[in-house]
Amino acid sequence: MNVLVCVKRVPTTGGRITLTPDEQDIDTRFSGWTVSPHEECAVEEAVRLVEVRGGSSTVLTLGPAAAEEQLRDALAVGVDEAVLLETDGSEWDPQETAAAIAGAVSSLEAERGPFDLLLFGNEAADTADHQVGIRVAHALGRPCAAGAKALELRDGTAVVRREAPGGGWEVLEAPMPAVVTVKEGINLPRYPSVPGRIRAKKKEIRRLAPERAGARLRKRRLVLPPEREQRAEVLGHGPEAAPKVVEVLRGLGLVP
């Protein structure tokens, strides 16, 4: 069982987002970096699949040299190998990103044999393009099952359970080798152990130079949406505020 999982380095956003003066990026001077929540779960899923079935897992990202940090995070929770498609840090559009990943998958597979599964997050936390996994599947001629909240492998088929439109679940099947994009909730990602962190630090990261096709979806600038002017009414401090809360509930018709 060989699994590749793709992640994207994104800033950890707290309560407020501020922009750089040129409006091209989020101001990250005071924030850290992470991967999208869906991808954290994709990494966990890759590790679990290999734990149960043997084989190996590989994590791949397209991003600046600093994205090594996100690769090491994945190595720390048990991924075996890491590949960095190193860029200058500027943003690649989803088409370019998918083309570069598909190219890298092809060359990795030529060396080491095919991946049974390529895992992605359903969409990235920042750009939410909803398409990189699907485009990679097309480029490689593989099927894609998106939005997995549960994944089972049966006789060479990936069986995915996902949210159905209008509520409930739908079950989707895709013959392997396949691309599966996952959503948070598919599993509960583990925390890295200290030995895991130490092991991850020592591992070698493979660096490849991706070729850039030229963006056709081009960012001009980022804009913060106008903030709703909201001045909260302070109902009180501590348990003494309870009667005021009941008044609010009464005003909304929730209590008689």
Binding site: H38, C144, R220, L222, H237
Partner: protein
């Protein structure tokens, strides 16, 4: 779908009618998702946005549904301004949802008529179908657009970070593919509804495109109040302290006929199941009242809570980011405040 005139799709620079030999101003084509012929709200929102672009310029607005059952949607789509409804049917397309095949069918429709703009709803399925079509045609796709300005190039305003941030971007393509962010515009019927022409379209889709398909469906559990539909939501964050701490939130939710939700910190710690998460990667709630307890208000959470009409915050920290979104605040430890609120509500209900 009959080609409007015999030309190759990529030559339809007719886009936006700006090229001199354009006979037909660029069509706006909206992919509409439906269940047994009932279009979903998000698709009608996308159609409404498309109408806003079509009406002032005289561009035709057309809709496309997959599956013969979609014919039943024609009247509603006409009422929302579609002059033509393309019904994709036959060859497996009437069967269960197969993302790649549906995307291929949409791609064939785009090839056949070279629309200037293709819209899809900003739902999981809308994104999926359009992404498959975009991949098949090797065209760019802009997801979660809230505004589209046709031109050369077309400029879109689209959501990032679940709508906490917007991006102005230009799209370089003969047919511009966009999903429309949920609730970017309200779905509204047209002032002058049209009785649409229904055109069957049966593209040849390779068998291989059906290899990924829906093989089963589990209906939603209708017992209890679902988080997404609850009129009152009581949410807890890190401040709740652990799984046991949620008992008092459950008590309050039950008294008010509501549901309990939580922040991502809580599900990541395993205190509550992921299904209870309110947020960008969880459930988007839309209650009349959201009572947020011990939640700081990270953007990840606020994206999911944005649909709440009123927000009551219980938090120790009056400077927490969530307070800037609140209607009412109780400053204090939720472990002291909530039991008092529960007691007072019980008293009021007695």
């Amino acid at each position: 779908m009959a080609p409007r005139r015999p030309r190759r799709w990529w030559r339809s620079c007719a886009a936006w009618g700006s090229c001199p030999d354009a006979e037909v101003p660029g069509v706006i084509l909206a992919y509409v998702d439906h269940r047994e012929g009932a279009p979903d709200d998000a698709s009608l929102e996308a159609l409404t946005l498309g109408r806003g672009l079509a009406e002032p310029t005289g561009r035709p607005l057309e809709a496309l549904v997959v599956g013969g059952a979609g014919r039943a949607a024609a009247q509603v789509l006409g009422a929302h301004g579609a002059s033509v409804v393309h019904v994709v049917e036959g060859g497996g397309l009437d069967g269960p949802y197969a993302p790649e095949a549906w995307g291929a069918a949409l791609a064939e429709a785009i090839r056949a008529s070279g629309p200037a703009l293709v819209l899809a709803p900003g739902t999981d399925r809308g994104h999926e179908v359009l992404a498959h079509a975009a991949a098949a045609l090797d065209l760019p796709m802009a997801a979660n657009c809230v505004r589209i300005e046709p031109g050369e190039p077309t400029v879109v305003l689209r959501q990032r970070w679940g709508g906490t941030l917007l991006e102005e971007a230009e799209v370089d393509a003969p047919s511009v593919l966009c999903t429309v962010a949920l609730h970017a515009v309200p779905a509204e019927p047209a002032g002058a509804p049209v009785g649409p022409e229904v055109r069957p379209f049966s593209p040849a889709i390779p068998e291989e495109a059906f290899r990924t398909r829906v093989v089963g469906r589990v209906e939603p559990d209708r017992r209890g109040v679902s988080l997404a539909e609850a009129k009152v939501v009581v949410g807890g964050g890190r401040g709740v302290g652990g799984p046991e701490g949620f008992r008092v939130l459950e008590e309050l939710a039950e008294l008010l006929g509501g549901a309990v939700g939580c922040s991502r910190v809580v599900t990541s710690a395993g205190w509550r199941p992921h299904a209870d998460q309110i947020g960008q990667t969880g459930t988007r709630i839309a209650p009349d009242l959201y009572i947020a307890c011990g939640i700081s208000g990270a953007t990840q959470h606020m994206v999911g809570a944005r649909g709440a009409k009123r927000l009551l915050v219980i938090n120790k920290d009056p400077e927490a980011p969530i307070v800037s979104h609140a209607d009412w605040v109780v400053v204090g430890d939720l472990h002291e405040v909530l039991p008092a609120v529960v007691a007072a509500v019980r008293e009021a209900l007695r």
